[in-house]
Amino acid sequence: MSDIEERVKKIVVEHLGVEETKIQSDSKFIDDLGADSLDTVELVMAFEEEFGCEIPDDAAEKIVTLKDAVTYLSANSN
C-alpha cells in the first residue's frame, strides 16, 4: 500500500467511523461506507488539510471511492 493510500485510509477511518479492514480500494464512501453527502464534503476538506492542496468542487464531486481519492491526490498533492 502506498503512503498516500495509507494516509487517505486513515482519514476515512477517522471521519466515517468504519473499520479499516472493511475499506476496499473501490468502496464507495456513500453506498458502501455509510457516509452522507455532508460527510463527503468534510472528507474532501480533510484530504485538503492532510495533503496541503485545494480540491476544486468539480474534482471533489468525482471522488467517490478511496481509489478516486488516491489517484487524484497522487497527481495533485504537493
Binding site: G17, L38, V41, E42, M45, E48
Partner: protein, 409 residues
C-alpha cells in the same frame, strides 16, 4: 375532552446524567455548581457554573463521532430524549408514527459552534467552514435528530423563548395533544451555553452571580439577601406526553397529568420583568383557569427563582397575590443546578413530577437570610416530606415572556 399525561422522563444536568441520580442528589441538598474549567476564566467576572463532566456523557447513546457533528446542546438533548423515550416504553411505528411528534427547544442553541466557526472564517477562510456547522447549531435540529432516531413523524417544532423555552415546549405539546393533532409528544429543552461567548454575554448584561467565585456551591441563592445574579447551568430535560386513553391502552406508567398551561407577555423591558409581577401573575392565572382548580388547591410552586436581585421578589409577590400564602410551599431547583436557560423549565417539570411521585419537596439551597417576611415555606436548605396533588411550575424569559404549567395527579 382529551386529557394529557406524562409517561416518560429523562434528563442530564449538573447533578447527574439521569433522573434517578439527579433527583437523589437534589433532595439530599447536593450542589451541582463548581468552578468553570472548560475554558480560561481568569478575566471573567463570573467564574462558576453548573457544568456537566464530559465523562458523564454516555457515548453509547451518542457516539463520539456523532458528537463531533453536533453542538453540545444537541448531544445533551439526545441523551435526555433517550432516557425519556425508553422510560415511557413507547415505540413509534407504522401509523402511530404520524401521531407522535417532537418539540424540544433551546434558548440559544449552538452558541459555541457559531463562535468557533466565526473564528475559523476570520482566521482560516471560508473553505475551512464545516458542512456540519449550520445543522449542528440550528435550534430545531435537536427536534429533527430526535424525530429521525425514534421515527416520530408527527408535529415537529422547537420553541425559542429564552429561559421559558422548556415550559413553552411542554405547554405547546400539551395543547397539540389536547387539540387532537397528536397522541404522543416528546418535549422539553436543552442548553449548553457555558462557553466564552455565553458567559461574557450574560456577564455584560449584568445577569450573572459575581460574588461567590471562591465558594461556587453558594453562588445560586434564590430569595437570600446576598444573592447577586444567576449561575448558569447546562443540560437537558425531556418528557414524553401522551393522551390519557392512549397511555392506558398500552398500560404505560403514568407520572401525572398536565392540567393547565398559561402564557403572557410583559410588554415592558427586554431583560427586566415587569415590576408589579403582572406578567407572571397572568401566566399562572391562565394555567390555573385551564386546570379548573381553585388557588388553594395548589400546594407547591416549583419557582423560576433564578437568584437575581429583582426577579425573585417579583415572582414571590405574584405567587402570594394569586395563591395566598397559607400552607403553600415554594422552592427553586436552580439553587442546586443553576439556571439551565432553555432547558430549565423542562428539568424543573421532571423534578415536579418526582415531587408528586416521591412525596418529597426539594430544598432551596443557600437561603441563609431570607430577603422576605413571606410566610410561604421556601424550604431552606433541606427537602421536606409532603404529599402534594397539584403543582405550579413557572418560567420567565428575556423579552418579557412568561409561561406557567399546572401539574397534578
Amino acid at each position: 375532552m382529551r386529557r394529557v399525561v406524562v409517561t416518560g422522563l429523562g434528563t442530564i444536568n449538573p447533578l447527574g446524567n439521569n433522573v434517578k441520580s439527579s433527583w437523589n442528589s437534589l433532595i439530599n441538598s447536593k450542589s451541582g455548581i463548581s468552578k468553570i474549567t472548560n475554558f480560561e476564566v481568569d478575566n471573567y467576572p463570573c467564574k462558576i457554573a453548573g457544568s456537566i463532566d464530559n465523562a458523564k456523557i454516555n457515548d453509547e447513546i451518542v457516539s463520539l463521532r456523532d458528537q463531533r457533528k453536533v453542538d453540545r446542546f444537541i448531544t445533551l438533548g439526545l441523551i435526555a430524549a433517550d432516557e425519556a423515550i425508553k422510560d415511557s416504553g413507547f415505540v413509534s411505528e407504522n401509523e402511530k408514527s404520524f401521531r407522535s411528534g417532537v418539540m424540544v427547544g433551546s434558548g440559544i442553541g449552538g452558541l459555541d459552534t457559531i463562535y468557533r466557526n466565526s473564528s475559523i472564517l476570520d482566521n482560516q477562510g471560508l473553505r475551512k467552514i464545516s458542512p456540519f456547522f449550520i445543522p449542528s447549531s440550528l435550534i430545531n435540529l435537536l427536534s429533527g435528530h430526535i424525530s429521525i432516531k425514534y421515527n416520530l413523524k408527527g408535529p415537529n417544532s422547537s420553541p425559542v423563548t429564552a429561559c421559558a423555552t422548556g415550559t413553552h415546549a411542554i405547554g405547546d405539546s400539551f395543547t397539540i395533544i389536547k387539540n387532537n393533532k397528536a397522541d404522543v409528544m416528546v418535549c422539553g429543552g436543552a442548553e449548553a451555553a457555558i462557553c466564552p461567548l455565553g458567559i461574557s454575554g450574560f456577564s455584560a448584561a449584568r445577569a450573572l452571580c459575581d460574588t461567590f467565585n471562591d465558594q461556587p456551591e453558594k453562588g445560586s441563592r434564590p430569595w437570600d439577601k446576598d444573592r447577586s445574579g444567576f449561575v448558569m447551568g447546562e443540560g437537558a430535560g425531556v418528557l414524553v406526553l401522551e393522551e390519557l386513553e392512549h397511555a392506558k391502552k398500552r398500560n404505560a406508567n403514568i407520572y401525572g397529568e398536565i392540567k393547565g398551561y398559561g402564557m403572557s407577555g410583559d410588554a415592558f423591558h427586554i431583560t427586566k420583568p415587569s415590576e408589579d409581577g403582572n406578567g407572571g401573575y397572568r401566566a399562572m392565572e391562565m394555567a390555573l383557569q385551564e386546570s379548573r382548580l381553585n388557588s388553594d388547591q395548589i400546594e407547591y410552586v416549583n419557582a423560576h427563582g433564578t437568584s437575581t436581585p429583582v426577579g425573585d421578589m417579583i415572582e414571590l409577590f405574584a405567587v402570594e397575590k394569586l395563591l395566598g400564602n397559607k400552607n403553600l410551599c415554594m422552592s427553586s431547583n436552580k439553587s442546586a443546578i443553576g439556571h439551565l436557560l432553555g432547558a430549565a423549565g423542562a428539568v424543573e417539570a421532571i423534578f415536579s413530577f418526582k415531587s408528586i411521585e416521591t412525596k418529597t419537596l426539594p430544598p432551596t439551597l443557600n437561603l441563609d437570610k431570607p430577603d422576605t417576611k413571606s410566610s410561604i415555606n421556601l424550604i431552606p436548605h433541606t427537602s421536606i416530606s409532603k404529599s402534594v396533588n397539584n403543582i405550579i411550575s413557572n418560567s420567565f424569559g428575556f423579552g418579557g415572556t412568561n409561561a406557567s404549567l399546572v401539574f397534578g395527579i
